[in-house]
Amino acid sequence: MIDKLIESDQKEIQVVTFKLGIEEYATLITDVREVIVLQNCTRIPEAPHYVKGVINLRGNIIPVIDGKKRFNLETSEEYDSGEKRIMIMDTKQGTVGLIVDSVTGVVKLKIEDIEPPHLDLGEDKEIFWGVARHMDKLFILMNSQKSLSLDYESYGKEN
């Protein structure tokens, strides 16, 4: 997708930025349907470890992924500053929620400012598109289709 964007004449992409711990992430705004305040998730036995559970969003049951666990970040014991949010995302597999520490805003990133993921971003590079510079900040650009997959098989090696 990002490749296509780069190939096309589009100079900029619009992203939603959010924080996980001290790191800043970004995802395409077109993948985000809405942002809701954190609510209790119903745990699912035997679910992948990064799945927090399911929530009931206006009658729809939506699986929720814990962003920090998904990206293998330190999960220093949960303290909620009240800024935690669930980003409701559209993926090919359906609607998925992503728990983030806070949603910081919407910015436009210049395509030329996006570095491909040659940096060491961990084992599965596929879940990121790269790192984007914006002002004096760095955003890790998330590939929401890949990173929000619930497919246990494809992520089984982590467990």
């Binding site: 119903t42 745990r43 699912i44 036995p45 035997e46 679910a47 992948p48 799945v51 399911v54 929530i55 009931n56 969003l57 206006r58 009658g59 729809n60 049951i61 699986p63 597999q93 359906g94 619930l150 497919d151 246990y152």
Partner: protein, 656 residues
């Protein structure tokens, strides 16, 4: 009148009526002496005719009219019900169905081959007058009064009046009988109160009279009067062209008159019963379901806020809204579900026809018609079921001779059973026929090059059975017009798979075949027991639960390091849900009593330990991404009235 809007309504109702006709006729075939069935068939046919004619579908109307004539003859006992007539009626209903089909497709009636011939055939059996000219009241000569009229008569007698029935015969040559009637009428009006005339005044005005052997023009007046009969007689005879007058004193109303209600009143009553249903576009229902979902979330939010604010008045309102919302949810969720009977009800007829054709005796047993299934599935599953039933009758069940030879009952059995299991609906079609010969399938597969001889040993029976679902795979030695087993199976498989379901065939040679269709029902509603394990809430489908017991912890015994209980002479293994589901911070161990839910699935009986039983309630099953639960412990989720989510446990995998 613009009939376009009515077309949908007409189609729906006519379909229903046709189905009803078929079913009643089937019953009648079994109990030909049951007069009420015949009456009912007649009544429906009459409604059907009326509706078709209103819609301008005259072919349909005429055909029904002719069928009605035949029914009328049966009703009046002029001909007796025999197989030929039943078959003829069935044929007629079939023709109506064909006409319906063209109406559904094109919105218009088109010429349907064979109908004219059929009507001719009907007329031979039922030699009736030409339909249009036949006065409907002709057969009404046996007077019948409505109950309210009888009541009026009784009252009049009690008050000292003498009600009379006056029959006025007008000469055949009379040019204007209507005028004579009018004259008689005004004479009588001076003597008392005319409460009924047969025919009615309107009918008299349009020159419709009762006919009898003596005269073409007969009118009956019912009058409440104190005047003597003789005087009335003289007065009437003073009118010219009156041939004869008969006056009857009505003394005991009940004896002299049938209390039988008139046809039209019967219709009124029955329409009162059917008018309890309203047809609604399914799309609107979907929207409604979604909206109710939102309503519930907001209701939850409201009650949360209410608790924070804690204003007694607000609390009351909130609680009230909560209970109403809950009810609305229940109702709305139920709206989309229809009993599977809607599909099943057409099968008795099908089975009858096929078994007649094949000359086999079949006993059809239908179970679980009340199982509710999402509306959208109803139409989809009919066709596959028809295929399977045909196969079972055609190839499954043996002929009478074969059955006798095999030492089976002469009458074959075909069972059609539906039941629901967590988020699935199972439909089983079981026959006690000769079963499927896997060897034959193997040979056929070999012939088609689908399997190699060396693979024979390694394939299980059910794997071999799978070949049946391949397109064009048929093992039938002779193909009948009902097609060979296999031709339809591929269609069945395709159709069911498209609905996210599965088809499974089990067969034992010489004993019978069972075809199981499993369908998911995303919107299925089921009864469930809500239990608490630790702090989590789970739903257990009620149809698996035998009972709930509470036992002291010291009754738990150990066998091979596994916990069991000895309950009513059965040794039942205990499964601790908290361990199975890795529930955090669970305190089942700390109590001195165990709450056990006894769960039965197929042959297994297992006791499942839970922390607490919450209640039993109807739940709406929603599917869950299957990747979420790797061990398949969870078959679905449901939202509770408070917006909270409860997981529905998959009993089968849980107790394995």
């Amino acid at each position: 009148m613009n009939t376009d809007n009515l077309l949908g309504l007409f189609i729906d109702e006519s379909k229903e009526n046709l189905q009803f006709l078929n079913n009643k006729l089937l019953e009648l075939e079994k109990k030909p002496e049951d007069f009420s069935l015949l009456n009912e068939i007649f009544r429906i046919a009459h409604t059907f005719k009326g509706m078709s004619k209103t819609m301008g579908f005259n072919r349909m109307g005429d055909l029904t009219h002719n069928l009605e004539n035949l029914l009328e003859l049966l009703r009046s006992g002029q001909i007796t019900i025999d197989e030929k007539i039943i078959t003829c009626l069935f044929k007629g209903f079939d023709k109506l169905e064909i006409l319906m089909a063209t109406i559904i497709e094109t919105g218009n009636e088109t010429e349907c081959p064979g109908i004219k011939e059929f009507i001719k055939e009907l007329k031979e059996i039922a030699p009736f007058n030409d339909p249009e000219n036949e006065p409907e009241i002709q057969t009404d000569i046996n007077t019948s009064l409505a109950s309210y009229e009888l009541l009026a008569i009784e009252e009049a007698i009690a008050q000292g009046y003498s009600p009379k029935e006056i029959s006025v015969y007008i000469e055949n040559e009379c040019v204007m009988p209507g005028v004579r009637c009018y004259m008689v009428n005004s004479l009588l009006e001076n003597q008392g109160e005319i409460f009924k005339t047969i025919p009615t005044v309107e009918e008299i005005e349009s020159n419709k009279f009762l006919t009898c052997p003596q005269t073409k023009h007969l009118v009956k007046f019912f009058i409440i009067t104190k005047t003597e009969s003789d005087i009335i007689m003289q007065k009437i005879l003073s009118v010219s062209e009156i041939e004869k007058v008969e006056i009857l004193d009505i003394k005991d109303s009940k004896k002299s008159y049938d209390i039988q209600e008139k046809e039209s009143e019967k219709n009124k009553q029955s329409s009162k019963i059917t008018s309890h249903t309203v047809r609604v576009n399914a799309e609107r229902l979907d929207n409604l379901v979604n909206l109710v979902g939102e309503l519930i979330i907001n209701k939850t939010r409201l009650s949360q806020l209410t608790q924070e604010i804690n204003n007694p008045e607000l609390n009351g309102v909130s609680a009230y809204i909560e209970s109403i919302t809950g009810e609305i949810q229940d109702i709305v969720m139920n709206l989309r579900m229809v009993p599977i009977e809607q599909v099943f009800s057409r099968f008795p007829r099908l089975v009858r026809d096929i078994s007649k054709e094949m000359d086999k005796d079949v006993n059809l047993i239908i179970q679980g018609q009340e199982i509710e299934i999402d509306r959208s599935l109803i139409d989809e599953i009919a066709e596959p079921l028809v295929h399977i039933i045909r196969n079972a009758l055609d190839h499954g069940l043996e002929t009478r001779e074969e059955r006798i030879k095999a030492g089976k009952k002469v009458k074959g059995t075909l069972q059609l059973i539906a039941h629901s299991e967590y988020n699935k609906i199972l439909i089983k079609i079981i026959d006690d026929g000769k079963g499927i010969d896997t060897e034959k399938i193997y040979q056929k597969a070999l012939e088609k090059g689908l399997i190699l001889p060396k693979d024979r040993e390694s394939r299980t029976e059910s794997e071999i059975m799978e070949y049946l679902f391949l397109p064009g795979f048929s093992t039938a030695e002779k193909t009948t017009d009902l097609s060979g087993r296999g031709v339809g199976m591929d269609v069945v498989k395709t159709k069911i798979t498209a609905l996210n379901g599965t088809v499974n065939i089990k067969s034992e040679k010489g004993i019978g075949t069972t075809v199981t269709i499993t369908l998911p029902s995303t919107l299925a509603i089921t009864q469930a027991l809500l239990v608490e394990v630790g702090e989590e809430t789970y739903a257990l489908p009620l149809n698996y639960i035998n009972e709930v017991i509470e036992i002291p912890i010291n009754q738990v015994k150990h066998i091979q390091n596994k916990e069991v209980i000895n309950f009513r002479g059965c040794v039942i293994p205990i499964k601790r849900l908290d361990e199975l589901l890795n529930v955090p911070e669970c305190s089942i161990f700390n109590t001195d009593k165990l709450t056990l839910v006894l769960i039965q699935s197929e042959e297994n009986l297992v006791a499942v330990s839970v922390s607490k039983i919450i209640n039993q309630q109807e739940i709406v099953i929603k599917t869950l991404n299957k990747n979420l639960s790797s061990k398949n412990y969870v078959s679905g989720v449901t939202t509770l009235g408070n917006g909270q989510i409860a997981l529905i446990l998959n009993v089968n995998t849980l107790i394995r």
